[in-house]
């Protein structure tokens, strides 16, 4: 111990893995902006009850279709204006952020968990199980994602936020399954896995504590990018009337609700769409940055 302390101060230990990762991540300005926006969104979503000036479903009967504050006729009571039922758009957007983040998190968690399980099973079992699972994933991949999501909502019966989330999870499932299977297969061929097996590790231990931790990097990237596509697909389904139903303050539902009035009240349309765009963009930028930082080989 004493010997180590006695080392001259000029010899610094190599940066920890975390520090090295952060340094290469921070080089990417887009990724930093994405991260900042994400943190802001999460803060807004958590503090929605405090931040939002009004309730998202309260109807102010004296102010239908009030324009944003900086336009004549607008007022600072409703900074981004009100909709056709006199609801404050800013408050609906703020609660919508909470909803969108929950949607993204639920969809990613569900498809990540099931996809990991299926991918590991396919890689470990091999043979018929592997072939059957992968063929099934091929079948799911043949359908354009939105088409498959629409079909699943139809199968589930009535359109709702929960059903749409389930549909989007199934649609993204094949990506995770394929990714995990491919990563697990390449790890399975390594010596350390053989060593663990010789040491008597059971299949479950091999799967979860030997192989899986080494497949995590591509999964994190996929999950971040999956977050944004989940928000986009969910908004698209809600726009088609197959997702969240009014008066839920979901961003896609707000777009659908704007259809009737947007030609004379542009703020009904513009702000929910911008909210979706900014959120999805933030996650995409962050995901791209993560990928570059985690996998130096992919860097351009």
């Amino acid at each position: 111990m004493a010997a180590i302390e006695a080392l001259p101060a000029t010899v610094r230990p190599p940066p920890s893995r975390m520090a090295a990762f952060w340094r290469s991540f921070a080089e990417n300005r887009g990724a930093i902006v994405g991260l900042a926006v994400m943190i802001l969104l999460i803060a807004i979503a958590i503090g929605a009850d405090i931040v939002a000036p009004h309730s998202p479903i309260e109807q102010f009967r004296s102010s239908f279709l009030t324009p944003p504050a900086w336009i004549q006729g607008g007022s600072f009571d409703f900074p981004l204006g009100t909709d056709d039922l006199g609801r404050d758009i800013l408050s609906r957007l703020i609660y919508g952020a909470r909803l969108s983040l929950i949607i993204g998190a639920m969809v990613v968690t569900l498809s990540l968990a099931v996809g990991t399980l299926l991918g590991l099973s396919a890689a470990f079992a091999g043979g018929l199980i592997d072939i059957a699972l992968m063929r099934l994933m091929d079948v799911l991949l043949v359908f354009p994602s939105l088409v498959l999501a629409v079909v699943i909502v139809a199968i589930l019966g009535h359109p709702s936020l929960l059903n749409a989330m389930f549909a989007v999870s199934i649609v993204t499932l094949p990506h995770y399954t394929r990714l995990v299977r491919a990563a697990a297969l390449s790890e399975l061929a390594r010596d350390y896995v053989t060593a663990a097996r010789c040491a008597g590790a059971g299949t479950l231990r091999l799967m979860l504590s030997t192989v899986l931790p080494n497949c995590v990097a591509p999964l994190i990237v996929q999950a971040t990018l999956g977050f944004s596509s989940a928000i986009l697909d969910e908004a698209a389904l809600s726009f088609l009337g197959l997702g969240a139903q009014p008066p839920t303050p979901e961003w896609g539902t707000m777009l659908a609700g704007a259809l009737q009035y947007y030609q004379r009240a542009w703020w009904l349309l513009t702000f929910p769409g911008l909210a979706i765009l900014v959120t999805v963009l933030a996650f995409n930028l962050f995901g791209d940055g993560l990928r570059d930082a985690l996998d130096p080989k992919l860097r351009r």
């Binding site: 887009g30 063929r135 099934l136 091929d138 079948v139 043949v142 359908f143 354009p144 994602s145 939105l146 088409v147 629409v150 079909v151 909502v153 139809a154 199968i155 019966g157 944004s228 986009l232 908004a235 698209a236 726009f239 088609l240 009337g241 197959l242 896609g252 777009l255 659908a256 704007a258 259809l259 947007y262 030609q263 542009w266 349309l269 513009t270 929910p272 769409g273 911008l274 979706i276 765009l277 999805v280 963009l281 995409n284 930028l285 791209d288 351009r300």
Partner: protein
């Protein structure tokens, strides 16, 4: 090459059977008995219901029903719409040209703009143009399409009055549908106004549908070009005095195009999925709009047949892309 083709075919057959299994399951999984759904609120007597179920083969064991369904599909019989009483196939065939016209225009828009932009970004790597283009490309890929389409209508149709809001052609023209492709049909109608009207109706939907492919093509072209520009033969070409433009356009671009062509081919799924949104926004009478309506009207035979046709189309195009790729790049034939 023949062996390569056969191997690919042997891969798509089980996938196709899987797809039919899913569409077969679809009509059994949706809530409600298919016969009862047909009668709707009026209801039907139990004896009549049993007779109809027998007629439709619904009292057979599931595996037999599935085989019957496969035989039906093989002969091109996709059932009959509950709402319009028309065969699903003929409804699809009538609407499909509209979707093809829109998708082809969208992909042309994406390639004609995305390809040159990607090339310039790669050549001027690290320049403000490069950064700007890549920023726009991420933004394009993050675009909520319903919003994008409606904003375009708000600006260009409502605000500036440049383009119409919806449909394929103005009501004042009557065009005999010969091919189903509005641009071709109006071309033969000898009415210049009709052609212009058709083009005018097509521009906005094509741009909206082409936005995500545009982002993908620009990004892919850039990274493929960057890879090729680092190759030794490019340095050799420069060293022997070939002009800069010629190196980029002839030596590099040709080789960089292979992965780009594949990516363009694989956009078919994206286009057909995107058509659902774009056609709904612009009331474009195509397959995507039809599918969404079938869900809203609970017209399940249409949904079943339409989804099967869309999936088959994607498989067919992917197969074509695979073959082209194998043809262009002998290394992957193995």
């Amino acid at each position: 090459m023949l062996q390569f083709i056969l191997r690919r075919v042997s891969l798509i057959i089980p996938t196709f059977i899987g797809v039919t299994l899913l569409t077969f399951a679809l009509i059994r999984l949706v809530p409600g008995d298919p016969i009862e759904v047909r009668f709707g609120e009026r209801g039907v007597a139990p004896e009549r219901l049993a007779a109809l179920r027998h007629e439709a083969g619904l009292d057979q064991p599931l595996w037999k029903q599935f085989l019957d369904y496969e035989a039906q599909v093989a002969t091109g019989d996709l059932g009959i719409s509950v709402v319009t009483k028309q065969p699903v196939w003929s409804e699809f065939a009538a609407l499909f040209p509209a979707t093809v016209e829109l998708s082809v225009s969208a992909i042309l828009f994406a390639v004609l703009i995305g390809l040159p932009l990607g090339v310039v970004a790669a050549v001027k790597r690290g320049s403000p143009f490069d950064y700007g283009l890549m920023g726009l490309s991420v933004t394009g890929a993050s675009m909520p399409i319903p919003w994008w389409g409606l904003m375009m209508i708000l600006v260009f149709s409502v605000g500036l009055g440049w383009t119409p809001v919806s449909g394929r052609i103005s009501d004042v023209f009557f065009v005999e549908p010969i091919t189903g492709f509005m641009l071709i049909d109006t071309w033969f109608s000898d009415d210049d106004g009709a052609v212009l009207s058709a083009i005018n109706h097509l521009i906005l939907p094509a741009i909206v549908l082409g936005t995500i492919p545009l982002a993908t093509v620009a990004r892919m072209t850039r990274s493929s070009m960057l890879e090729v520009l680092n190759e030794d033969y490019i340095r050799t070409a420069r060293a022997k005095g070939v002009s800069g433009l010629r190196v980029v356009l002839v030596h590099a671009l040709r080789n960089a195009l292979i992965p780009v062509v594949t990516v363009i081919g694989l956009q078919v799924g994206t286009l057909l999925g995107g058509a659902i949104l774009t056609e709904t926004i612009f009331s474009w009478p195509g397959v995507g709009h039809w599918l969404v309506e079938s869900v809203q009207r609970r017209d399940y035979p249409v949904l079943q047949g339409g989804v099967l046709l869309v999936a088959s189309l994607v498989m067919l195009v992917n197969f074509g892309v695979d073959l082209t790729y194998g043809f262009l790049n002998p290394r992957i034939r193995r």
